[in-house]
C-alpha cells in the first residue's frame, strides 16, 4: 500500500535575479513498511525533497499525498494535525535543540501538544530514549549532548509520536566511524519494523545499507536504481538510449 507519493513535484528557489531548480518533476512512492535510500552529493536536492515530503515546505508544482490525503492542497493547520501523530516524522542530522533543558523533557515536550502532561509524557520519553540507545542521557542537559547523541535524541522525539513514516536527512554526522556505524545499524533496525516506513537521504552510502530500494538525486532529478539493474521508467528521465 502506498503511504507517501510525490507526483511531478517541482521546487524552485529564487531571489528575483536568479532562479534555481531544486526539484525537477520528481516522482516518488513509499509503501507502508518500506525502506528507501536516497543518495546524492551536497546541494543535490536531498534536504528539499525530504522537507517537501514531510509537508514542511510546499512545492511550486506537483502533489504530495500521504495515506490518501493530498497534503499540498490542505491548509497548514489541518496538515500539521494530520501528520502529528501516526504521521510523518522528519529528523535532521544537524538538528539542535532550541532550548537547553534536560534531554528527557526535550523528548517529553514533543508529546505535550497531544493534551498529555509532562508527568505522563516523561515515562514514554524515557522508553524512547532507551530504544535509541541514549537512555543514560535522560538527565543530561541538551546543550551538553554530542552530535551523535543529538541525532538519537531527535529520533526519540520523532518516535514518541509513533509515526508511520520516518524521514532522516543526512544521518552521517558523527566524526566517529564506529558511532556512525552504530547509528546506521539502529536506523536499519527501525526500518525492519513492519509498522514504520523509513526514507534516508545521505551522501554516505553506508547510511543506505540494507535499503530495499535505492534512488539517486542530482541537480533535482530523482533516478530510481533498482537492484536488478533495470531502468525504472520515470517521466522525469530526460535521456533515453
Amino acid at each position: 500500500m502506498t503511504l507517501l507519493s510525490l507526483t511531478q513535484v517541482t521546487r524552485r528557489y529564487g531571489d528575483g535575479r536568479r532562479e534555481v531548480l531544486v526539484l525537477d518533476r520528481v516522482n516518488l512512492e513509499v509503501d507502508a513498511g518500506d525502506f528507501v535510500g536516497v543518495w546524492g552529493p551536497r546541494r543535490s536536492g536531498k534536504t528539499t525533497l525530504l522537507r517537501v515530503a514531510a509537508g514542511i515546505e510546499s512545492p511550486g508544482a506537483g502533489a504530495v499525498c500521504f495515506d490518501g490525503h493530498v497534503l499540498t492542497s490542505m491548509p497548514a493547520g489541518e496538515r500539521t494535525r494530520l501528520l502529528r501523530t501516526h504521521g510523518i516524522a522528519h529528523v535532521c542530522g544537524d538538528w539542535r535543540p532550541q532550548l537547553n533543558q534536560p534531554t528527557l523533557d526535550s523528548v517529553a515536550m514533543s508529546l505535550l501538544s497531544d493534551r498529555m502532561s509532562l508527568r505522563e509524557a516523561r515515562p514514554i520519553a524515557h522508553r524512547a530514549l532507551e530504544k535509541v540507545g541514549v537512555g543514560d542521557c535522560a538527565d543530561v542537559w541538551t546543550g551538553r549532548l554530542s552530535q551523535g547523541e543529538r541525532i538519537r535524541v531527535g529520533l526519540a522525539r520523532a518516535l514518541v509520536r509513533q509515526p508511520r513514516l520516518l524521514l532522516v536527512d543526512e544521518p552521517a554526522v558523527s566524526p566517529s566511524p564506529v558511532e556512525c556505524g552504530e547509528l546506521f545499524a539502529l536506523l536499519r533496525s527501525l526500518a525492519g519494523r513492519s509498522d514504520l516506513a523509513v526514507l534516508i537521504a545521505s551522501q554516505d552510502l553506508e547510511a543506505l545499507e540494507g535499503a530495499r530500494r535505492i534512488m539517486s538525486i542530482s541537480d533535482g532529478i530523482l533516478r530510481s536504481m533498482d537492484q536488478a539493474g533495470v531502468v525504472v521508467a520515470f517521466p522525469n528521465q530526460r535521456v533515453s538510449a
Binding site: W39, P41, S44, P177, V178, G181, Q203, D204, L205, E206, L208, E209, G210, I214, S216, S218, D219, R223, M225, D226, Q227, A228, G229, V231, Q237, R238, V239, S240, A241
Partner: protein, 181 residues
Amino acid sequence: MRGSSPLKGALLGLVLQRPGHGYDLANRLDRRLGPAWQITAKDLYRMLEQLERAGLVSSRRVFSDGPTGNRRIYSPTERAELALTEWMNAGTRMAPVRAEFQAKIAVARTQDAPRLLASLDTYERECFSMFNASTQDTPPIRSFAGIAVHLSRASARLHLRAELEWIVLARRLIAEVATLS
C-alpha cells in the same frame, strides 16, 4: 612480487595464514576484500600458478572419495613470509581512472551527448548494483582481520561514492556542452 597484482599479495597472505584449496581461498579472499574486486575463478587459479612458478607456494593433490573429488591444496614455501613482508613494504600504485569513458568523451561529437548520458545512467545503476552486492553484515572491529574487512568495504563504498559524484559532474558538463552547441 613487486609491481604485481595486489590480489596476488593478498592471496599469498591467506595461504600463509592457512593452506587451502582454490575454492576455499576464493571464498576467503572474497570475504576479506568484498565483491567490488570481482575476483573470478580463472583469475584466482592464474595467480596461484604464478605464485607457484615464483616459488612462493607449492601445491599437492589430495585424493578424496567425497563429493568434492580430488583437490589441489596450496601451501606456503619458506620464501613466502619474506615475499609477503616485501609486498607490505612496497608502495601502492594508483589505478587508471575511468579510461574507457574518458576515451569516448575525448572523441565525442555533439550528437553523441544523449548516448554518453545514457551510458552514464547505466554506469550509475551498475555502481548501485555493486553497492547492493557489498552490503553484507560487517563483523565487529576486534582484530586485524576485522579491520581488513571493514576497511575493504569502506574502500569499496568510498570508491563507489567518488564514481557516483564523478557521474554527477560528467552528466552536468555533458549537458552544458550539449546545450551550448
